[in-house]
Symmetry: C2
Subunit: 406 residues, 2 copies
Amino acid sequence: MASPVGNALIGQSGGPTCVINQSLVGIVEAARGRAEVRNVYGAVHGIKGVLEERLIDLGRESAETLEAVALTPAAALRSVRKKPTREECEKALAVFQAHDIRFFFYIGGNDSAETAHLLNELAVAKKYDLRLFHVPKTIDNDLRVTDHCPGYGSAARFVACATAGDNLDNRSLPGIKVNIIMGRNAGWLTAASVLAKKYEDDGPHLVYVPERAFSLDAFVADVDRVYKALGRCVVSVSEGVHTADGKPLLDSKEVDSHGNAQLSGSGALGDHLANVLKARLGEKLRVRADTYGYLQRCFAGVFSEVDAAEAREVGRVAMREALGGERAHGSIAIKRVGAGKDYAVRYEVTELKNVAKETRPLDDAYIAGSNGIAPSFFDYGLPLLGKLPTLRRLSDFAVAKKLGSS
Amino acid sequence: MASPVGNALIGQSGGPTCVINQSLVGIVEAARGRAEVRNVYGAVHGIKGVLEERLIDLGRESAETLEAVALTPAAALRSVRKKPTREECEKALAVFQAHDIRFFFYIGGNDSAETAHLLNELAVAKKYDLRLFHVPKTIDNDLRVTDHCPGYGSAARFVACATAGDNLDNRSLPGIKVNIIMGRNAGWLTAASVLAKKYEDDGPHLVYVPERAFSLDAFVADVDRVYKALGRCVVSVSEGVHTADGKPLLDSKEVDSHGNAQLSGSGALGDHLANVLKARLGEKLRVRADTYGYLQRCFAGVFSEVDAAEAREVGRVAMREALGGERAHGSIAIKRVGAGKDYAVRYEVTELKNVAKETRPLDDAYIAGSNGIAPSFFDYGLPLLGKLPTLRRLSDFAVAKKLGSS
């Protein structure tokens, strides 16, 4: 199956990450010197930019600009949350034809893979010769097939470092601290909050993921138990937790076109949990809540080197696959082929439908009981975060009392 | 005035920072090889540890442990928020006598300086030979006399990087974004949110500090104007903003023993502002709020090298002053002696009463109108943050439309 000759187009979609531009630059890079690719364009705001014909020429960017953009968080092409209708898919294909787009790359998560899949189905039905690849990206780490998702390692690093610092803050000024972490459907990012733990009694002491039913009564009892034992308690709660009947703890009015409710961008869940703890355990307790919010996905300067390198490579692989001629479409997946110090990955292609729409929950084996993360998760997660900061306590050599104060 | 001979004691107090342990280690370091200092102790949880005789021996810590602790955020000795009563000051002095403490160092902000001042007044009145120094520390940057406070540069770096990343996120997925930043009385940290701006239309587009009266009507009108002009709007709001009659926007029930109301650890202010914006500008607008919360003071791995070095040095200077014999007590202040590339500082001693209790607001010259930060603030702030991440946009070379889509 010979590769077509024409222009390439790249779009970025969904929530941005710290390394999503690495994938963009990887695609551009891998097209260099390839006669099949005449120009590499970018669609501004993803599928929305396609429909509006808002295209920019990435081939005219200098290598220096591209390298600097690769290190810059958030979608350089700008992003969108939009599921195209059938009519819009037809319009998009008309734009492809008008600009002789023969290679299309959509960098995004499961919703973006769904958009890519819809476009691809139409292109196939219409016999429009198109190479179409979904390039995985999501801090949620909830794509199927792939071992992990570009973007996750950097966000996980943020969450691990934020929680480790917060644990030390809480040790300095003890109390109960609730941290709300992103992840609508899956607890991957919330689980990452344990990854910089060093000492036995370090927080987070309790971790609640959406894969387990959340009970307010059990939550209050758990916190009470830890607080009584340690004099402090740091808790990680996924924004996506819900009760046994599947209801979220708080209702959200906003829903996007993929049917996702707004969870981030509000401190309501954290404040609610803090208020419940005070009401039930005592108004005088020092209870605080933070919602990590958008900081965890685009913080400038905090990223995982491993994640950045892999995000670049999935972009390169996507372009190489598009040009290779073996498959006309698919999604790039990462396979882990070595563990620990020998951590290594290789790249595969899976069908678009395997990644579109549905998400992958945090593996059951990584969840310990109703409120914890299993030790095996460290083996999974740590290689993805890069070298973490060194954190050390004093030895606390006690000085004998002279006054017998207590 | 000859220096006494005896033991040294160090306490850490108030909100922790990413570099507060640099000061701790600086004090220990400067005591090495000095015959006047027999042992260096630490008080666990500041004045509370003194009163309970919870002392630890810092002289037995290895240099390697101390260096690792210096790089670890939050108070290694653990902290406290407590203003001692007259009786408690007498008890503290009794503990000093029992342990032959002749050098006392209290690392903290204005409230901690007040505690140090109270202890010192009593020691002087009782003619107890004591060298007592306050070592400045606060992310709020609101101490008087000193040009800036150790801890501020690192927290300001966090706020600048968080806001720069969030601005890019907001550019990817446009909407209105409100970020709540720490600073009970002073806008220094909120002002720092502008420091990583690069392009003309980068956010934050509006900045509200507690030094200016906050009007909800003006706020809504400001946001509406920016949103209409740019299609997006990023806003920095200090947690300490209040109306013209001095009332906070939201009431807080919790007050500490220094009389400070709880502002952090809740997303209420951000959520309130987001709700007001939606109610007045349109329920369909994408409005989000994040509260940077505790992450901005103890995030593991994000600190300013300049800040870390200065925090170390104020500790060393405090011990040297205590041993130098010129002054029996005081607070270390930083004076700036060079600007821009020639940024440099020297250290001075000021009287405890000059730093105790009262705070220093953001300089009037750094505030532009009711909702902005003046360009001169970049000259003040940038040297304190260390090298910031490089952020770059694509050039956006437009591709000519073929279908005339709009």
